[in-house]
């Protein structure tokens, strides 16, 4: 199962080293609360990064994921707060909306032959506009202060008490694991299977590695590309509903700038911009590595502005490193 193998020993090592450094330098880093923080704060991001890495594997990119996160969140919010639909339905509708948004990106790229980054830059604005337009918080003045109460949705933002489940509460204390982390695990396994064990996954890797080979083998390339963007939209949607569960509300600006972190996580995780190479473990590790760095820096009371600078720097360094390896291989 190539997709659950260690894709990149370097990043695991790097994560361990950085983790250790913070464990010694940052006071509250090695606490249960902080581990919970990292898991809560970056599980949803890892889900987006998985979706993003699919589009990058297909030689594309999706800049609209941040807006899609907000779109799913707002649809969910409206469905449960205004239309008072049961949580399961509301979640389903939100995921469908996000998937449709992703599929629309794919359609624009395939049929209007727009470059992925232009198409998704434009839909980034358009989807954000839709979020504002449908925002229940603006339509009904009483809503902004009300919290989502539906148990299904609340559950998404909940935690799982490992100790009690294992009956070990009296002996050791373990961090409470957020539900979102379990969703991430299941989702990662599902996408891993899809990539590693289905024709779809193989076709995607073929197309990314050599569009020429995909054409010559008669693969249905258009359908493939659309499905990749749809799945990326779905991932963003999943992240969106998790965030509603966590914040018990949806804001219009939710997810802004998230495309940068998602792309960075995917690229750190070894997803090749030249296409065809990538998986699920890489982006997930990438997301948590980023999380450890950023949360560690916060604990060291380093301004979040430095963190912004660092995120950008890490992205550029990661592609630089990628290019360097490529070059060394070619020689």
């Amino acid at each position: 199962m190539a997709f659950f193998k260690i894709p990149n020993l370097v990043i695991i090592l790097l994560t361990t080293v950085i983790f250790t450094i913070f464990a010694f330098t940052a006071d509250r880093f090695l606490t249960l609360a902080n581990i919970e923080n990292i898991l809560t704060g970056y599980s949803f991001l890892a889900i987006i990064a998985i979706g993003q890495s699919l589009t990058i594997m297909a030689r594309g990119i999706d800049l609209s994921v941040g807006s899609t996160v907000a779109l799913a969140a707002m649809v969910l919010f409206d469905a449960t707060m205004i239309f008072e639909l049961p949580g399961v339905f509301a979640i389903l509708i939100a995921l469908v909306a996000a998937t449709a948004a992703g599929a629309l990106n794919g359609l624009l790229i395939v049929y209007l032959r727009l470059q992925p980054f232009v198409a998704t830059l434009a839909t980034l604005a358009a989807y954000r506009g839709i979020v504002y337009a449908i925002s229940g918080r603006q339509l009904y003045p009483e809503l902004p202060t009300k919290a989502v109460t539906d148990p299904w949705i609340r559950w998404l933002g909940d935690f799982f008490d490992v100790e009690r489940a294992l009956g070990l509460g009296d002996f050791i204390s373990l961090p409470w694991i957020p539900i979102s982390f379990f969703i991430l695990l299941i989702y990662a396994i599902a996408i891993g299977l899809l990539l590693g064990r289905t024709r779809w996954g193989l076709n995607l890797r073929t197309y990314g590695g050599s569009p020429e080979a995909a054409h010559l083998a008669g693969l249905k390339v258009n359908r493939l590309v659309i499905s990749v963007y749809a799945l990326c939209g779905f991932s963003a949607g999943l992240a969106g509903i998790i965030l509603v569960g966590r914040f018990t509300t949806a804001t219009e600006a939710l997810g802004s700038g998230m495309e940068l972190t998602a792309i960075t996580a995917a690229v750190i995780g070894g997803t090749r911009l030249q296409g065809g190479i990538g998986g699920v473990t890489g982006p997930v590790l990438g997301a948590f590595l980023l999380g450890i760095i950023l949360i560690g820096l916060t604990l060291l009371e380093i301004s979040q502005f430095y963190q912004q600078i660092l995120t950008g720097g890490i992205l550029i360094a990661a592609i630089g490193y990628d290019r360097l390896i490529e070059k060394r291989k070619a020689v």
Partner: protein, 504 residues
């Protein structure tokens, strides 16, 4: 007995240009057929028709008696024709097994990939064909020859009975070529029919049963390779030009008076490409380097123009050793290069004739950063007249011109830099006869004014027509120079085809 492949009455024209003219191409089962011809002879068009990439204008294609629709790649693959292209059509990031069944992977009853079955079938195929790869190898990690073998396996996995191989040895070393040939002989025994497209005469004589020679879209010769020899094959390929130019040639021979040595190349080598190249180029002469395609002549030119760096050896200009590390420096030193691929390396296709004309000599047209438009126009118009470029409108976009006129624009661009040394790589490929003559005349004029011309050409007729001296390059080795006119057409052909026999 039914023909393994029967392409009958095939014609194909593009916008009035006839690429293939009423061609019959039939093969028996288990036959290895060479398909040869110089550039533009129609080989590529025939391959594309056979693979279904193009639909023929007229004619039918059938495999073992079953007719194929034409113009439908998927139908041609399932009908039993596969093609191994010069550049790999494998996905480099996938394993051998994954590549073998591209688009047709075995799945289990849950719709998941059946990796075991896939590996088992791949293993079987590898074993049956005695190929030395593992199903788990990543294609990107395999050497080129093994990638070729995987492509052959891929064709077999699709149950192909006819396999086209387009220049299969272009990127292979000599022992690798032999391995590939062993594979071909083995396939032949199992009844697979192979079309072997190549410029390498010795390979054709080593591995093929029969040969078909195309020239200008027509079949000019077909027969058993056992009943012919290299020289006559090359002769068929190139046509018998040069007969009525003998008088002119004698006249010219007397004219050749060597001017000053402008360029001397001493022991120039680049690893795995060419070695120990030595020659001199004089003012007022045209020196041709000829040889078969793939003899690494373009790679030698790249070193002279600063595109690539030699590992060893020196380049002297007017007696002074120079280290030419960029094209910019080469141009400043008075060298011009008309590259082989005018569309990819030479021209700015969405720009006009006048814009292309001045692109390498901007300094002469720019004053304080501004264009002297009038000067640009006059110079471009002069060149249009001198080179007989059609249409004679400096504003026309170069991408819309014919091949011959594009080549003239490119030549004009380099003449505008007023070089001492003009290097041309295959200057008349895909150029019509009229334009060819115009180009030759301009080169003669350039030479008579004291310029030095170095041409790489595979066109024997062209070499005989314009060269003062000739060098032959084979497998990265350069012969001594000889007087172009001292040799007959047949002798020159023999030198080109004969010397490539001694490989290794």
């Amino acid at each position: 007995m039914v023909d393994a492949l029967a392409a009958l009455n095939i014609s194909k024209s593009f916008d009035g240009f006839i690429a293939l003219n009423n061609l019959d191409f039939t093969l028996q089962s288990g036959e290895v057929r060479a398909l040869v011809g110089s550039n533009g002879a129609g080989k590529t068009t025939l391959i594309k028709i056979l693979t279904g990439a193009h639909a023929p204008s007229t004619g039918t294609i059938s495999i073992n008696g079953k007719q194929l629709p034409g113009g439908d790649p998927a139908a041609h693959i399932s009908g039993g024709i596969s093609c191994i292209y010069q550049h790999t059509s494998l996905a480099p990031n996938l394993t051998v097994a994954e590549n073998l069944f591209l688009g047709n992977h075995p799945t289990n009853r849950f719709g998941l990939l059946d990796k075991k079955e896939m590996k088992r079938r791949a293993q079987q195929l590898i074993k049956d064909n005695e190929t030395d790869v593992s199903p788990n190898d990543l294609v990107a990690d395999l050497p080129t020859v093994k990638q070729k073998e995987v492509e052959i396996l891929k064709a077999l996995a699709a149950n192909s009975s006819v396999i086209l191989m387009d220049e299969p040895t272009a990127w292979l070393s000599f022992p690798e070529v032999q391995r590939l040939h062993d594979t071909i002989r083995r396939l032949k025994k199992t009844g697979v029919t192979i079309v072997y497209i190549s410029h390498m005469m010795d390979e054709i004589f080593r591995v093929c049963d029969n040969a078909t020679v195309l020239r200008d879209g027509k079949l000019v010769w077909q027969g058993s390779v056992a009943e012919t020899d290299r020289s006559s094959m090359v002769q068929h390929m190139l046509g018998d030009g040069g007969q009525d130019t003998s008088n002119e040639r004698n006249e010219r021979r007397n004219e050749v008076e060597k001017g000053q040595k402008t360029l001397r190349v001493s022991n120039l080598s680049r690893e795995n490409l060419f070695s120990e190249a030595n020659f001199s180029l004089y003012q007022g002469e045209i020196l041709c380097i000829t040889g078969l395609i793939g003899s690494k002549r373009s790679e030698l030119l790249q070193c002279l123009f600063g595109v690539a760096q030699p590992d060893k050896g020196q380049i002297f200009l007017h007696g002074i050793p120079q280290k030419i590390d960029t094209p910019r420096l080469a141009i400043q030193l008075g060298i011009g290069l008309v590259p082989e691929d005018r569309r990819m390396q030479g021209l700015f296709l969405s720009h006009s004739i006048e814009e292309n004309h001045v692109a390498a000599s901007l300094g002469d047209f720019v004053n304080r950063g501004l264009f002297n438009r009038k000067r640009v126009r006059t110079r471009a118009q002069d060149t249009i007249r001198q080179l007989n470029i059609k249409p004679d409108d400096v504003k026309k976009t170069v991408g819309n011109l014919s091949g011959g006129n594009q080549q003239k624009v490119l030549l004009g661009k380099w003449l505008e830099t007023a070089p001492d040394i003009l290097i041309l790589d295959e200057p008349t490929v895909g150029v019509d006869v009229g334009a060819k003559n115009d180009i030759y005349q301009v080169l003669q004029a350039f030479k008579e004014e004291g310029g030095a011309v170095l041409i790489v050409s595979s066109d024997v007729e062209e070499v005989q027509n314009i060269a003062d001296r000739v060098l032959v390059m084979a497998n990265g080795k350069l012969s001594a120079s000889f007087d172009a006119q001292a040799l007959s057409h047949e002798e020159l052909v023999a030198k080109i085809s004969g010397e490539s026999v001694n490989e290794a």
